[in-house]
Amino acid sequence: MALIEGIFEPGLIVTSVDWVLNWSRKRSIFPMTFGIACCAIEMIATGASRFDIDRFGSGAFRATPRQADLMIVAGTVTFKMAERLRRLWEQMAEPRFVIAMGACAISGGPYHLHGYHVVKGVDQVVPVDVYIPGCPPRPEALLEGLMRLQDKISARTIAKQKQ
């Protein structure tokens, strides 16, 4: 909870402050490198020059959770990896977001029936904001997911919420 959050009633000033705050947050979402499997290759392609995630302000992939806003879970999550994934998500600072990229991160993907070591969906481990279907999703799909996340960030407000 920020210090000025939840104090003021919705109004012109609060809305303007909201607009500026959300604008600056959504135009500079720093992803954390969490490419686990094949979807990581598509994430890398999104970061390369043809699809260029940097024009959305998200080109600075931070390797450490302390400096990252967004965790793109790209790939199959195993039980062994789930513990580390949870710990790293805990070590991220708010406001933090999670994108589940690819079928494996959404629901276990092709390993849903017989995968003996696969977590059937990363939302069993961390709360997910945006799901991007595909196996793997095209870079344009990842950018669409990023834009949906930007819309989600635009909807945030620091005004007092009605109970």
Binding site: F79, K80, A82, H117, V119, Q124, V125
Partner: protein, 160 residues
């Protein structure tokens, strides 16, 4: 470069008692050895000047519940001559044990760890026999035909 039948002949000349059966034709020429004679035969295969199988390409463990055995196959290649061959051992399915060949081919150490992890084969005198793919405290050996999936692990349900 020796043909598979010549390799089988050489092995039989070296120690005929260790060979249980041999297949020299087809896509996968191999011999089946007795498990207790494996290390001696492996040493022969590596050091014999006409064979020189210095590269262990792969160790695979196969589960045959109908025949009640676990088969372990060692794929060998000679980098000097270019011939390829395979050696198999058949182990009792209830308690599969065989001597480790890690002293002869160091690559065997990780392959044997994988065979232990996923199939439960015990390799005697292995310097560091522990799971390599699954978590350390995983119950069971997943690639066995009668493996039961866990219900939950580490607080996560297996099937939501």
């Amino acid at each position: 470069m020796m043909t598979p039948s010549e390799i089988v002949e050489l092995l039989k000349q070296h120690d005929a008692a260790s060979v249980v059966s041999a297949v020299a034709d087809g896509p996968y020429p191999h011999v089946v050895l007795k498990p207790e004679k494996l290390v001696a035969a492996a040493g022969f295969l590596k050091t014999e000047p006409r064979l020189q199988f210095d590269l262990l390409r792969c160790i695979s463990a196969i589960d045959w519940p109908a025949r009640n055995i676990v088969e372990v196959a060692y794929d060998l290649i000679s980098t000097s001559f270019g011939h390829a061959f395979a050696v198999k051992v058949e182990l009792d399915r209830a308690d599969p044990q065989v001597e480790s060949v890690g002293g002869i081919w160091p690559a065997a150490q990780w392959h044997e760890r994988e065979a232990f992890d996923l199939m439960g084969v015990m390799f005697l005198h292995h310097p560091d026999l522990r799971r390599i793919l699954m978590p350390e405290d995983w119950p069971g050996h997943p690639l066995r035909k009668d493996y039961q999936d866990v219900v939950e692990y580490g607080g996560l349900k297996f099937n939501p």
